[in-house]
């Protein structure tokens, strides 16, 4: 491999940064605010190096730091109902729930909205890949996926581009991993025209003792990066930095789009599960958004010591990548593990067995700093917590929008009633014929719902059910629901309705609802009306979770879902997980035989 670095002008080392405090830095182009940049300088007591600036900028982004949402998300913890079922709560890659018989289940729902609009197939595919790695990183075998989707008008030309690509991407990736797709949603509404919602859920199963956490402890333990080689994926923004600082000949073209390799991910799953089975890891983290920056800083931040990484040992797909770009790359299908020295050999052997590239890139240190080196020169020296866990927090202003009253006043009671049977007939047909009511078979037929041989219920059921132990028939049920129109009318109640529907769907199968994961899809947090919707929806969801006794165990916030000034309907998508002790006693939706009685429960 050619050594591209020698051709570059001086490396922006820690030493160099200390000596050149006045050097101009492209913090603005990287999306940092002036006070955020000032805070970084304060934390470090000098200007950041290019690599440090890249790390902070991406870790302090809305996407990674939850800076606009975390003051509201706190309620999920504060109001969490008392439950013995929660083994790992919010904060880890995914929450873990005790389902009895020594089994634990982890599940989480995440969004990949923006990438899926730009490149529907790959955006949706890598969305599935990301959530599956989250679940894997907890120590679990992924056992099923679900995909709540929202598109623009069904007959809009751009929906014809986005929908087939998204569905093919989810199918292409999930089918190739061997994960049964046990449910989801397809909703059409013009508000999602320029901003489809592609949410993906994954559920995984493990024994209690197999739970793994993302932390780096034990000085001398090795940091192993394994999976795909690192390429220039998803680092569009950071290229600004690389080019300005190091490469005066102009910015290199780096793709913002990532291409997924489900085959590589399948190998990663099997390889990782074998590594877990032999108890070879002390800590583990998947690489998702913000790539190595995120994995190294989070592992080090959650652990007890520091970490030292030799960045030039990272296997590359593109030898010309700068250190900043390597730190930022969002190349898919990679994991980072902390391994005791005497277990490294066996770890590498298992990777070799599965044709997975694995490299020791560093080690846990006695200290308390995250230190990164490039060909022997230090380019990062930071307190890891300041990068990973102590990002900025915003108390953004929020206000009930002026139009909310008018919107609520405009209720269906004011609509004209059908004049005669003809009109009634027309209206019924219009409802029945609307795309939102149509059969979803075109979508679900493209997803494998049988693989793994444990699917008890899938489409067209309101909940998916999978068996997790064939010997005892223990199983879990899952449903996702959300209604942007209700939530727009009343964000507090809308979020609760989403929870209530998913809860009912799970309960109706015969399962006992245990826990909640949510994906909060909203517009721009800089709009006080959107922020109000967000505040109300989270408050509603947290209150309802307390009432129902089902804690939120994790989830995802997706903001800036808007086209120009027009935000999508506020769309909290809520997933409920339940346990069913004997899946042979599940209740399917359909009438089983003639002569059965129909009962209506509730008012």
């Amino acid at each position: 491999m050619s050594d591209g670095t020698t051709a570059r002008p001086a490396l922006d080392t820690v030493e160099h940064a200390a000596k050149t405090p006045e050097a101009a830095q492209p913090w603005k182009e990287l999306g940092l605010k002036e006070d955020e940049y000032a805070r970084i300088r304060e934390i470090l007591d000098r200007r950041p190096t290019g690599a440090e600036l890249a790390m902070y900028s991406v870790m302090w982004s809305e996407h990674c730091s939850y800076k606009s949402s975390k003051v509201h998300l706190k309620q999920f913890g504060e109001k969490a109902p008392q439950t013995d079922a929660l083994l790992v709560g919010i904060g880890e890659n995914a929450g873990v729930v005790d389902v009895g018989q020594g089994y634990a289940v982890t599940f989480k729902i995440e969004s990949h909205n923006h990438p899926s609009y730009i490149e529907p197939y790959q955006g949706a595919a890598t969305g599935v890949g990301g959530i599956v790695r989250d679940i894997l990183a907890m120590g679990a075998r992924p056992v099923a996926v679900m995909d709540p989707l929202r598109f623009g008008a069904a007959d809009h030309p751009d929906t014809k581009r986005v929908l087939p690509g998204v569905v093919a991407g989810i199918g292409g990736y999930g089918n190739c991993l061997g994960l049964p797709n046990i449910g989801g949603e397809v909703v059409f509404d013009p508000c999602y025209q320029g901003n489809p919602l592609v949410n993906a859920l994954c559920v995984g199963v493990m024994k209690h003792e197999d739970i793994h956490l993302a932390k780096a402890s034990g000085a001398g333990n090795k940091v192993i990066l394994y999976g795909a080689r690192t390429g220039g994926d998803g680092i569009g923004g950071v290229s600004v930095l690389a080019s300005e600082t190091f490469d005066a000949t102009g910015p290199s073209r780096r793709p913002a789009v990532q291409v997924g390799d489900p085959f590589q991910e399948k190998l990663l799953i099997e390889c990782t599960l074998e590594i877990f089975a032999e108890k070879l890891v002390a800590g583990i983290q998947d690489l998702g958004g913000a790539g190595l920056s995120c994995a190294t800083s989070e592992l080090a931040s959650a652990g007890s010591g520091g970490m030292r990484v030799e960045l030039d040992t990272v296997p590359l797909r593109d030898a010309t990548l700068s250190p900043e770009e390597i730190l930022m790359s969002e190349s898919q299908e990679r994991m980072c593990a902390i391994v005791e020295p005497d277990k490294v050999g066996r770890f590498l052997e298992i990777c070799e067995k599965w044709d997975v590239i694995a490299t020791v890139i560093g080690e846990v240190t006695e200290g308390s700093r995250l230190e990164i080196f490039w060909h022997g020169e230090q380019i990062v020296d930071v307190p890891p917590r300041s990068v990973a866990h102590e990002g900025p927090t915003y108390h953004r202003p929020f206000a009930r929008p002026a139009w909310q009253d008018a919107l609520q006043a405009d209720d269906a009671g004011a609509l004209p009633r059908p004049a005669g049977t003809d009109e009634l007939r027309k209206q019924v047909l219009a409802v029945v014929g609307s795309p939102n009511q149509a059969s979803k078979a075109w979508v679900t037929d493209q997803y494998d719902r049988f693989v793994q041989g444990n699917t008890i219920l899938a489409q067209p059921e309101d909940s998916g059910v999978v068996r997790i132990d064939p010997d005892t028939n223990l199983g879990v049920a899952l449903a996702t629901d959300g209604n942007g129109r209700y939530t727009k009318l009343d964000p507090y109640a809308g979020a609760q309705l989403a929870l209530a529907e998913a809860y009912r769907n799970v309960a109706a199968t015969g399962a006992k609802p245990l826990a909640v994961s949510d994906c909060l899809n909203f517009g721009s947090p800089e709009d006080p009306a959107v922020m109000w919707q967000f505040a109300e929806a989270t408050r509603g969801l947290a209150d309802a979770c307390r009432t129902l006794g089902t804690p939120v165990t994790g989830g995802n916030v997706s903001l800036y879902n808007q086209t120009g000034d027009a935000a999508i309907h506020p769309t909290p998508v809520v997933a409920v997980l339940g346990v069913i002790d004997d899946v042979s006693r599940r209740t399917p939706m359909a009438f089983a035989q003639q002569g059965q009685l129909l009962l209506l429960l509730g008012e």
């Binding site: 093919a168 199918g171 292409g172 089918n175 190739c176 991993l177 061997g178 390799d261 489900p262 085959f263 590589q264 399948k266 190998l267 067995k353 599965w354 044709d355 679900t444 037929d445 493209q446 997803y447 494998d448 719902r449 049988f450 693989v451 793994q452 041989g453 444990n454 699917t455 008890i456 068996r467 064939p470 028939n473 899946v583 042979s584």
Partner: protein, 234 residues
């Protein structure tokens, strides 16, 4: 004696554990086999399960076909050992020339997952003896490269020699699982070699072995009981 049936895992194989379960449910011992090992551990029969071995990159089955385990499977298949290829396994058998023809992208160009009606065309193979010719069964189908193709002469030969093992049943409505789902020539869903010990098909019998899972039918179990009966009585 308990029959020992090997189930091969290639990188990217998905249905290996399900197939092992089906083998056990049918009453045999399931023996995991690894693609890198030439040794098939003295098994009595081999199943190449479904999945996306090597991601189905290049062509489905094209890379797996060259694995060390396949060298042995090919040799033993020629010597008469029963071999079943399911979905990706069928594709591997075609690429390995143990079965004639090839699989192409479905004519609809989409992945198709459904409960598929099949007509058993022959009970004269190692894997279909417990069925009756003409019997209709229903088992899950799930693939994107399932269109069976061969030249006219090969097709005529297969028909003449009674080597079309399964056809997609086309008599009823698509919603009930009837019809040719992928454009396979002559509605062929599965075939056998001349000796009848090697069978390949696209649908998944291993997902139709328990009343509780999959489609709730057990129509696929007879694949495994057929071969077990043959092995045990041999």
């Amino acid at each position: 004696m308990t029959a020992r049936i090997g189930v091969v895992t290639f990188p990217g194989t998905l249905d290996d554990r399900d197939t092992q379960r089906a083998v056990r449910l049918a009453g045999a011992e399931a023996v995991p086999l690894w693609h890198r090992d030439k040794d098939v551990l003295g098994v009595d029969a081999v199943v190449l399960p479904g999945g996306f071995s090597y991601g189905d990159y290049l062509r489905a089955g094209a890379i797996s076909r060259f694995s060390p385990v396949m060298a042995t499977v090919i040799e033993q298949a020629h010597a008469g050992m029963p071999v079943l290829g399911i979905c990706n396994g069928f594709q591997v058998l075609c690429e390995a020339h143990l079965l004639p023809g090839a699989m192409l992208r479905n004519t609809g160009l989409h992945f198709v997952c459904r409960d598929q009606k099949l007509r058993v065309e022959t009970a004269g193979t190692a894997w279909t003896a417990e069925y009756e010719a003409g019997q209709e069964i229903s088992i899950p189908l799930k693939n994107i490269d399932g269109r069976y193709t061969a030249d006219e002469r090969t097709l005529d030969e297969l028909e003449a020699e009674g080597r079309v093992a399964f056809r997609y049943a086309t008599a009823g409505a698509a919603a009930d699982g009837y019809g040719n789902p992928n454009g396979s020539l002559r509605d062929i869903a599965g075939i056998s070699n001349a000796a009848g010990n090697v069978v390949g098909l696209m649908p998944h019998p291993e997902h139709a072995v328990e009343p509780l899972t999959g489609t709730g039918r057990t129509d696929g179990l007879a694949f495994f009981t057929s071969v077990i009966k043959k092995l045990v009585s041999a």
